[in-house]
């Protein structure tokens, strides 16, 4: 038995390793694709500004609430939506088929196509049809299926899958498109975009005119009226719905809203988030068997053959059944989450995605609707930076859901190598002694040395384009007892949670935090039994170890005895705030977790809260640019306090860098798993920093500090990187 289990574990490991190295290859290929880098890079760079402009005068937050409201209503009443839509569409002469699986849906369509003698089909964009493998199945039956969306047409010629949900052919340049067109049309096509667009018009025009059937995807389906909506820019959606005598809609149950006017919220955000347009060229609404010309020679008109296939497969039901993922129903497929994603900007959707859905939300959609295996690979690409959440049209908790996916797969297929490292982290003694050994023998931290494998992931990140910091010779836990805290009038007591980087690498920073707090009347304690916060374990989906670490820290920090807990690492703060979710409500542990979570603050926030904002400082000029940590800005909502602290410090001048809240690529364990992606993200950050010509980069996260210092160092840029707490300590002469 034991042998069998071992065998299985080994096989599993081998398979995972194989997949992971395949994914690495995909990453390299994507990074080598210069067209992708240029177009996607440009697009993603200009996107945030263009998007904001398109929202002028629009209450984005308010609209997002409305989208959530109308879509969650539909989710809660999904059976009623299907029934109402069916009744109303049929009342108007349409036919509705309720497909309980992709196979059932496709079989219905095959029969319909056969029965009606359909030979050629023109199709506008439909992601649901990709799930049915529509083109493939009907192609095998000898039916000609023509993609009419320009991007879809191009990738169909290439035999590829979409690289982006909204812009499927971003990875190809005009020269490649010209070659594909030349091959297809058998006449030479020049690599001039406007000419290529003309070719597409010409080629497709013929197909539109002669096609027997048009196929559309819906952006929205209204239950109350039986109306389906399609939004396009090219006009292909219109042609598909105007010329052929048979018109087939394919859409999933997630497209429903109840009332006609509910749709207006969606079309307010969809074009703005999708393509930074206030509205697209066309929005078409079809209700039942609308009019068509039956015979162009006699000009005879009549109702068209109008069909709707509603996809209600087990994957979609599984989304609705899982409380943590149910919100996916509210996604309007605008693609904004891809456009702001630093990982997506680098590798695109062929890597960060599956053959149908791409990016962060695409990872979840892939898991439920396309391929669980593929999702398991790509879920690790997410940096957990949280940018996607900010722009999401429906306010989806994308990073949190990705984390849940990781947890799910960690439970189902524990990867023993990863787990070994995490077990070590959660074994406080083992971990701490490992780090001590490491500090004595720095050599093992060199890449390729055997020891590195056994180090916690987030510390083993010696990668290209970044130097690794030295482990402190004396850890902070040994320095702390020697510190003398001079606080004449004690206003309160604070316990410091150090986290691994403060304890073992940046011990000076830990001292600065204490000096700063002393200066405003607070004494600081450093509970010795504290361990790793558990963030690396959580990041890898290892709930078991994360919970173990939470327990150790709840016990160690003993929050009941202090007024506040201070942390100088936002990832630790964020993690500690999550502790209550690890325990069942009503239990003692839960109660204590809540106490700890409620008392824990990040340095800048707490320092300002306790009256630390003051016009002090040595007055010596220091030009500072500030980098926002993903966790601090987006998870904890702190971005103003640090800036206030710095700008009130005499001598400090703040110069904002471009995209100050764009991830630095550290992402916890991330830079180790995917240095290929992390390195260019860092390079971008360094560029933005360089442009400010500042003397110093201020940060509030030791992870960012490590990453950015390493990046500057590797490029020989003599700029300092300092934590806000250190700048205050130095400028106020507290050291």
């Amino acid at each position: 038995m034991a042998v069998l289990v071992d065998e299985k574990v080994r096989e599993e490991q081998e398979l995972q390793q194989k997949r992971s190295s395949e994914l690495k290859q995909e990453i390299h290929d994507a990074l080598d694709n210069t067209t992708l880098a240029r177009t996607l890079g440009n697009f993603c760079k200009t996107y945030p500004g263009r998007r904001l402009k398109s929202y002028e005068g629009i209450d984005f937050e308010g609209n997002r609430e409305k989208i959530k409201e109308v879509k969650s209503y539909a989710a809660d009443h999904v059976d009623e939506m299907i029934e109402k839509f069916t009744t109303n569409c049929e009342k108007r002469g349409g036919h509705v088929f309720h497909a309980h699986s992709t196979e059932e849906g496709m079989e219905f369509i095959r029969q319909l196509v056969k029965e009606k003698g359909v030979k050629t089909i023109v199709k506008s964009k439909s992601m649901a049809s990709e799930e049915l493998k529509f083109n493939h199945v009907l192609g095998d039956d000898g039916v000609l299926v023509q993609e009419t969306d320009l991007g879809e047409f191009i990738i169909a010629l290439e035999g590829n899958t979409p690289v982006h949900m909204v812009m499927p052919a971003l990875h190809l340049n005009k020269e490649q498109v010209a070659d594909l067109f030349t091959e297809y049309t058998k006449v030479e096509n020049k690599p001039i975009i406007s000419e290529e667009v003309k070719t597409a018009r010409k080629v497709m025009r013929e197909k539109f005119i002669t096609a027997d059937m048009g196929v559309s995807g819906a952006n929205v389906a209204v239950a109350e009226t039986g109306t389906v909506f399609t939004m396009t820019n090219e006009g292909n959606g219109r042609m598909v719905g105007t010329l052929p005598k048979i018109h087939l809609y394919i859409f999933g149950i997630e497209k429903f809203v109840d009332k006609f006017e509910d749709a207006r919220y969606i079309f307010k955000s969809l074009p703005r988030n999708g393509t930074c347009q206030r509205i697209t060229s066309y929005i078409s609404m079809y209700t039942g068997a609308n009019e068509v010309v039956l015979d162009k020679e006699t000009d005879e008109k009549g109702p068209k053959d109008f069909y709707c296939v509603i996809l209600d497969d087990p994957g979609r039901r599984a989304i609705l059944a899982e409380p943590e993922f149910r919100q996916m129903y509210e996604c309007i497929r605008c693609g904004a989450c891809l456009d702001v994603c630093p990982a997506f900007a680098l590798v695109g959707g062929h890597v960060f995605g599956s053959n149908v859905y791409t990016g962060g939300i695409g990872t979840m959609l892939t898991h439920f609707l396309v391929s669980d295996e593929r999702a398991e690979q790509i879920q690790n690409i997410c940096l957990q930076c949280g940018r996607c959440k900010e722009v999401c049209a429906a306010g989806l908790q994308i990073p949190e859901m990705i984390m849940k996916l990781r947890e799910k797969s960690a439970e189902e297929h524990p990867n023993n190598i990863k787990k070994f490292a995490l077990d070590a982290v959660s074994d406080r003694k083992l971990f701490h002694s490992m780090l001590r050994i490491a500090s004595v023998a720095q050599a093992p931290f060199t890449k390729g040395q055997p020891f590195i494998r056994h180090l916690p992931m987030f510390l083993s990140g010696l990668t290209e384009g970044r130097s690794f910091p030295n482990i402190a010779k004396v850890p902070f836990r040994d320095i702390f007892p020697t510190m003398i805290q001079k606080v004449p009038e004690v206003k309160g007591n604070i316990a410091m949670f150090g986290g691994c980087l403060l304890d073992f690498v940046y011990t000076d920073l830990a001292q600065d935090v204490i000096l700063d707090l002393n200066s405003i009347g607070y004494k600081v304690d450093f509970p010795m039994d504290q361990a790793c916060c558990g963030c690396p374990a959580s990041n890898m989906g290892d709930v078991e170890n994360a919970r173990k670490e939470a327990e150790i820290n709840i016990e160690a920090m003993h929050a009941e005895d202090y007024d506040y807990i201070v942390s100088a690492c936002p990832s630790c703060t964020h993690q500690i705030r999550q502790y209550p979710t690890f325990f069942e409500e009503g239990t003692e542990m839960h109660k204590r977790a809540v106490t700890l979570a409620e008392k824990t603050f990040d340095f800048a926030k707490l320092f300002v809260m306790l009256g630390g904002l003051a016009d002090e400082g040595d007055g010596k000029e220091l030009k500072v640019t500030y980098h926002d940590s993903c966790h601090l800005k987006r998870s904890l909502g702190v971005f103003q306090e640090q800036r206030d602290l710095l700008s009130h410090t005499k001598g400090v001048e703040i110069v904002e860098m471009q995209d100050s809240d764009q991830c630095c690529g550290f992402g916890g364990s991330y830079s180790v798993l995917y240095p290929e992606i992390s390195a260019p993200i860092l390079a971008n950050k360094i560029e933005n920093i360089k442009e400010t010509c500042a003397d110093c980069v201020a940060v509030d996260c030791p992870g960012c500090m490590m990453q950015i210092r390493g990046g500057l160092d590797a490029r020989d840029i003599p700029m300092e990187v300092k934590h806000t707490a250190t700048i205050i300590a130095e400028k106020r002469g507290l050291r």
Binding site: L150, G235, Y282, T287, E291
Partner: protein, 183 residues
């Protein structure tokens, strides 16, 4: 029905121009001439016209024919394949977006607006609403939603190759809205 204010017209025009369309204003009496001039201005020799009470009253077809434009009012599906121009009346407009709104199941109106390379959409000034939301409410309150309704905002466009915005794909390459002053 009240007349469109200059301000609302300017708003409609500005927004339509911002997406690559053009916009002119005309009295009912001048409508035929305006249409004919627009078509002639870019050498359009044949066009599909979808009749409406407004067009009939203003004599649009006659004016086009007088200007030598071959004008088709039937077999539009067939002529749409070759005619370079298309003209129909839109039921509403949205000023804040420069959008023409079709609220009619008439298939000819849909064909004339999508197949030819140059489309002229005519809308009564009094039928232009300031805002998108208002338009949606109007549509939602219709006693029955027609088989087809559609928004058209500027000519067709794409950015599918290298993210370069290019005008004119499967729909019109050019689009003009004529706002007709109500009398």
């Amino acid at each position: 029905m009240s007349m469109i204010t200059d301000e609302l017209y300017e708003c409609f025009k500005t927004n339509l121009e911002a997406v690559g369309g053009s916009c002119v204003r005309s009295s009912k009496a001048e409508l035929g001439k305006t249409v004919a001039n627009l078509f002639k201005g870019i050498d359009i020799a044949d066009a599909c016209l979808v009749e409406s009470p407004l067009f009939a009253e203003a004599g649009v077809k006659a004016a086009m024919e007088a200007a030598g434009i071959e004008t088709h009012t039937d077999h539009i599906r067939l002529h749409g394949e070759t005619d370079k121009g298309g003209i129909s009346e839109a039921q509403y407009g949205i000023a804040e977006l420069g959008t023409l709104v079709q609220v009619s199941d008439n298939i000819d109106a849909r064909i004339a607006a999508i197949m030819p390379e140059y489309y002229i959409g005519v809308v009564k000034g009094s039928a232009i609403v300031p805002e998108y939301d208002e338009m949606f409410f109007k549509l939602a309150q219709l006693p029955e939603i027609p088989g087809f309704m559609g928004f058209i905002t500027g000519p067709s466009r794409t950015a599918d190759i290298e993210c370069v915005s290019t005008i004119g794909v499967h729909g019109p390459l050019k689009l003009t809205a004529i706002v007709v002053d109500d009398e």
